[in-house]
Subunit: 361 residues, 2 copies
């Protein structure tokens, strides 16, 4: 089984399908912002030079967007490079990952460290909502690193700022570092108002926040992610160990301009607020599934009467790729994940899912 | 001092210079091919998906161009990622680098292995031409890996196919792997006719060849390099250890189309043949320098009466950035490197250099 949901190419090769609707990866359906298209066309000459090896201007723009200093920002070739850079530089010995979650933290740890990896379970019986008290108690076991994806992939749940502050304070007691993946935070209502990145009242030295432009601005193909680091020494070591020029010139350009594209941002925030509710409501009416309420642009679904692999196959036959979520730690073959896209396509997907699932009755 | 020549951004920041002519990085002056610009504009939607995690079609196209099989091809985010991937996967213990040469092999070895690194000297007294006999004798000392840049950066010298075959055969005797960086081979007269990549009469299991589209097609900002590997087991391990999606969607597109852009290729081959001779001849008439004959699109120069750092400073005051070559192993502050660009700019640069150097008399 594939580690990631996004390998639409392999699915197309295997199924000889020309056109598939991809509900397995969670990308803003508005597509590539016009502002980026225009900037690329106007700046082809950027390609004829190496990117700025220090990415100074890029880091300044991102810092400003986050009301921080450019010294807090590291950039990478997609969020994945930032994850790998962090893990291989910090090299934690004992790590706690709040799970089920995105697999790449664990993969990066396995590839680049000898860390002992433990999981903190988001329980199905608790609707996959974090049990903060229980997590805080677990931190007594003295981890070097706690990893939380927020909003969490694949459960869609968001941990509020006050709770996250509480968790960071508990981490600080044990000098446990806290790595928060906020790759989807722009899809959450209130967007950056929800992050602890710019909080002033708390000691953030142990905090590292991961971000990606690529989901919200629909440019996963361009590869751009960044990290917000409050530990100067660690940040300098990350920069020192990195391969040069990993962020390409167009990704650099995107990072500089997209955070100012207020029209795209507002239109997207508006869309996701409406559309995630629409999908939740409509899916809740479909037989033979349980739908988990989401705070972001994807939805976890528990299947009855069919397993995820079979459903995925039946849906591909209908022209739609869903994410078989059975390979997430603590999930199994009862689970799939669906993206939230535009209304028209959402209706098509809900109808097809309904058709497939109700045929089981 | 900077490891690389290409950091024009830092130079601009430090010198508050708005416009500088960059002769420190060796990029095709024809700029971004029109075929790529058109393909990008027609394919913005590629950005909305993750690249093919296995890059199957891309590797097929590159294999075809090299008359090889897609199983021989690994792709990377610039040549640099391929270098790092190779070194950290192979993890040689004892390495011989033919030097002076590009610094990133050594840097990748230091960052990712505990290898003992030795150098084979290209001697100034031999005009930096490889002494093949002497290299072959040195191979008796049983290295895990021999690294050769061909044509060599910064000396500009090319090792012919017959000689390289001879070297590989000697490597095979000791089971020494041979890593050849051919990032600039398209600039050499005869281009791919000069490579041993497609030779059939020799055992190539120990051979690895590095390539980059980015110099010849003037797209260093896009980040694309590839490796040709004849050791299946090593190649599989490289793929297995890699970070996902490191080649962005536009780099993937470039890799698929540019090797078919025969017009750009022919025009460029024609240009470099004429222009490197022109520059060599004109520079040979300038006082206070020695110019080394080049087989490619950059030229090594030895200074008299001024050191590289001072000359670089004086040239920046004239609006031109040259590569201070003093940080290459076996070179010192008598050496600079110049790119070969278009006739008009070459004349400007030669005139400015002449002016600066002759003012020393």
């Amino acid at each position: 089984m594939d580690l990631h949901g996004g390998n639409i190419y392999k699915i197309m090769r295997e199924n000889q399908a020309e056109k598939l609707i991809d509900y397995s990866s969670n990308i803003n359906p508005f597509g590539v912002p016009e502002s980026l298209k225009e900037a690329v066309v106007d700046n082809f000459d950027l390609l004829t030079r190496y990117p700025d090896i220090d990415y100074v201007e890029l880091r300044e723009k991102i810092a400003k967007y986050n009301k921080l200093n450019q010294e807090n920002i590291v950039v990478g070739n997609g969020a994945v490079e930032v994850i790998f850079m962090y893990m291989k530089t910090f090299k934690p010995n004992k790590v706690l990952i709040v799970s089920p979650t995105f697999a790449e933290y664990e993969r990066a740890l396995i590839k680049t460290t000898d860390a002992k990896i433990e999981y903190f379970e988001l329980k199905e019986s608790e609707e996959f909502v974090l049990n903060t008290q229980s997590l805080k108690e677990r931190l007594n076991e003295k981890y070097d690193l706690l990893i939380i994806c927020n909003p969490n992939n694949p459960t869609g749940k968001f941990i509020a700022k006050e709770t996250m502050t509480d968790i960071l304070e508990e981490c600080n007691k044990f000098d446990t570092k806290l790595f928060i993946d906020e790759a989807f935070i722009e899809f959450v209502e209130g967007s950056l108002d929800n992050t602890i990145a710019s909080e002033r009242e708390i000691n953030k030295k142990n905090l590292f926040i991961l971000r990606a432009l690529t989901k919200f601005f629909a440019i996963p193909g361009l590869r751009f992610g960044y990290g917000i680091c409050f530990d100067k020494e660690l940040k300098n070591r990350m920069e020192c160990d990195r391969e040069p020029w990993t962020v390409n010139a167009f990704a650099e350009l995107a990072g500089k301009i997209l955070l100012n594209d207020l029209e795209y941002i507002m239109k997207s925030e508006n869309w996701v607020r409406k559309e995630k509710s629409f999908m939740f409501e409509k899916l809740s009416l479909v037989n033979n599934i349980k739908v988990y309420k989401t705070d972001t642009n994807f939805i976890l679904i528990k299947l009855r009467k069919i397993n995820s692999k079979e459903l995925r196959k039946l849906m591909i036959a209908e022209g739609i790729v869903v994410r078989d979520a059975s390979n997430f730690v603590y999930l199994d073959d009862r689970f799939i994940r669906l993206a939230v896209k535009d209304r028209e396509t959402n209706i098509v997907v809900i109808d097809k899912l309904k058709k497939v699932l109700e045929s089981l009755d």
